[in-house]
Symmetry: C2
Subunit: 395 residues, 2 copies
């Protein structure tokens, strides 16, 4: 994988760069919308392209269960199946196995679980997970890992780190075997819970594999913002500059700005799309509920400072009506806005890094948007926690 | 209103024409997608414009209840509220009062009913219904009428016809009073159930009012196709050539072709959009279910002969997956296809009329699509009947 750092902010670890992926170049920092079931919910590929999105995330667990590999193989992979010509990063499915499956058991060999859809029993090894992502044709593959929840003991967290490393090693072997031309790049995932020594241990072990990029797992799982900041800074600092750094599960302005400041290049989150379907819209002055009585007669767009196609044409009053009447268009228009909003933020971040003014930009942005301690932005960690890993006694 | 007949088919009553409406000209024959709650469900205005749609239908009853007149007035009318720059025809609300309201009573003065949403009691007179549509800013207004179900006695049907006429007269007076520039055109609605003499009586009475156009109500309500044909032919023949003729509640290929042959210029129906959300797609060879196991591995587009944006990019297998996973995109893509399909049919009909080959076109089309007696197309009358007028004992 070619990852090139372009500009470095002189006052922080923020940087811009370019990921050269099989389905085209991707500018970083980049936010990846989540396309769980081979679609980013409530938005067309056309609209995603209009927003300049060139990398989305797919969920291996969901796609493995539905439509299943037979259908995906028959279509020639995920890109052709969903008619998406740009890049796709797929996760390992591990996170969903632990958060959704009604039963799962971790063994050295891999994970045994039952489907949350019909109870069918499956075993997935790290090798299987690579093979599945090869079938999908992913541009970036993630190896099976073990993400532990906050609050577990150090011994358990240590075992999870070491197993994650052994699985990553097996994943790398299978990845190299399965396609000698190395289309599609395998990342490592740094774990270690909230133990600094384990974060270091995980990073050291995984860096020995010299994978094309590194992700930071197990953060933004319900911990306080200051603990998030501490462990983000620690973990990001462990990944050498030449690697793309991917922070999993982050997608609100205050988390994105923090991540970029700490040198993160990539992030993904369901929040912009999920909250849109729940009538929560981003604005430059903080989140806005589109169901509240307060906007009943409000003829302003969601965000008067936004120039997206929703804000150019539709009022808050109209969107409230669409949510009240449960119209599909409500989700469509608000999803478009929320993704456009985050995409604009990321573009502005890149510009400010290019101009050496990132910290100033961040400060001014948060002056208007609201800071992490303030009321409106408290949903991120909580929302994230909802679908986060549950303690797995099987380790 | 300026309605101009352009071409007449030499072998049938089919014709092309132009409606000159306040929000731009509309070519006829025209199919109007239904936008119940100030949105055509699951499709953006942008897409509707791409399809060449310049006239949609709004439901007065629904809009009166939600968002209500305060919100609509505050937005400057329905067009601005929903950001639709083209024409809107609004129905009178009468049909919904009789099919949805848990209680309603017909009096000479108007209709008393309770909202199906919260039971609130309302009275609406013919004058109120005109006023509401003026507030909406409708390009075509429909007067309050009384549509009776098949099977009622002739006396009851006669009373409904005469009341419909008296209400139409009052509506015309209010319509002329309420806007001397006569922006927005009031149509008459011919009723008469399935009694030929009453159809004639209704048409004669309403034609005396010399309204800008005439609709045929009370057809496609569950009757046999041959009875539909008979009463369509009779009713359409009663409307002089110079008036635009609007057949309410028709929207499948075989009904549209029949209507055009009988000289109908306008039709509307929820079917193309509603069935799309239920995984039923139109194809040139008849309806196709997108949920069936048969299309699990089918890489063909919905209709290989269709060039809409859905058919250009997506397979039946993919759409089946989207329906199986209840993704919003399923409704979006299939709605787009179904409306595009009907719109293409209407454009082809216009061309064939221009070329004097309409009957040949119709025959060849139905050879492929299937005729009314065949299996696949039986849903139209049934679906329509679902939301049709229920017998109202209050008359």
């Amino acid at each position: 994988m070619h990852f090139t750092v372009h500009q470095k902010d002189p006052h922080s670890k923020a940087r811009t760069g370019l990921l050269d992926l099989p389905h085209g170049p991707v500018q970083t920092p980049v936010f990846m919308p989540v396309g769980t079931n081979a679609t980013v919910k409530a938005i067309t590929n056309e609209k995603l392209e209009e927003l300049g999105i060139s990398l989305i995330l797919g969920n291996t667990y969901h796609l493995f269960l539905r439509p299943g590999l037979e259908v995906l193989k028959n279509s020639g992979g995920l890109h052709r199946f969903m008619s998406w010509e740009h890049n796709i990063l797929t996760d390992s499915g591990g996170f969903q196995i632990f958060s959704l499956a009604p039963f799962r058991k971790v063994e050295e060999e891999g994970v045994v679980f039952r489907s949350h859809l019909d109870g069918t029993r499956f075993q997935l090894t790290p090798e299987d997970v690579v093979d599945i992502q090869r079938t999908l044709g992913s541009d970036i593959l993630m190896p099976l890992d073990l993400c532990t929840p906050p609050g577990i003991g150090e011994t358990e967290a240590l075992e999870a780190v070491d197993l994650t490393t052994r699985w990553a090693g097996r994943s790398k072997i299978r990845w190299l075997e399965s396609d000698p031309t190395v289309q599609g790049h395998l990342f490592g995932i740094i774990q270690g819970n909230f133990y600094a020594s384990l974060r270091r241990r995980s990073a050291e072990q995984l860096l020995e594999l010299d994978l094309p990029g590194y992700a930071i797992g197990g953060l933004s799982v319900g911990e306080s913002f200051s603990m998030f900041q501490d462990f983000l800074g620690l973990s990001a600092g462990l990944i050498p500059e030449r690697y793309p750094r991917y922070l999993m599960g982050v997608g609100t302005p205050e988390y994105i700005l923090e991540a970029v400041e700490q040198g993160i290049d990539m992030f993904d989150c369901v929040l912009p799309t999920r909250t849109a379907r729940n009538a929560q819209a981003f604005t430059s002055r903080g989140p806005l509920s589109l169901k509240t009585e307060a906007v009943k007669l409000d003829l302003q767009p969601i965000d008067p400072d936004c120039s997206c196609s929703t804000c150019r044409s539709y009022s808050r009053a109209y969107l409230r009506h669409l949510f009240k009447t449960k119209e599909i268009l409500a989700a469509m228009l608000t999803t478009q806005h929320n993704l456009s909003f985050i995409q604009s933020l990321v573009v502005s971040i890149r510009q400010s890094i290019g101009e050496g003014t990132f910290l100033l930009f961040k400060d001014r942005y948060l002056d208007r948007y609201g800071r992490r301690s303030s009321q409106g932005s408290g949903e991120s960690a909580g929302e994230r926690a909802n679908e986060q890993f549950r303690v797995n006694g099987g380790l």
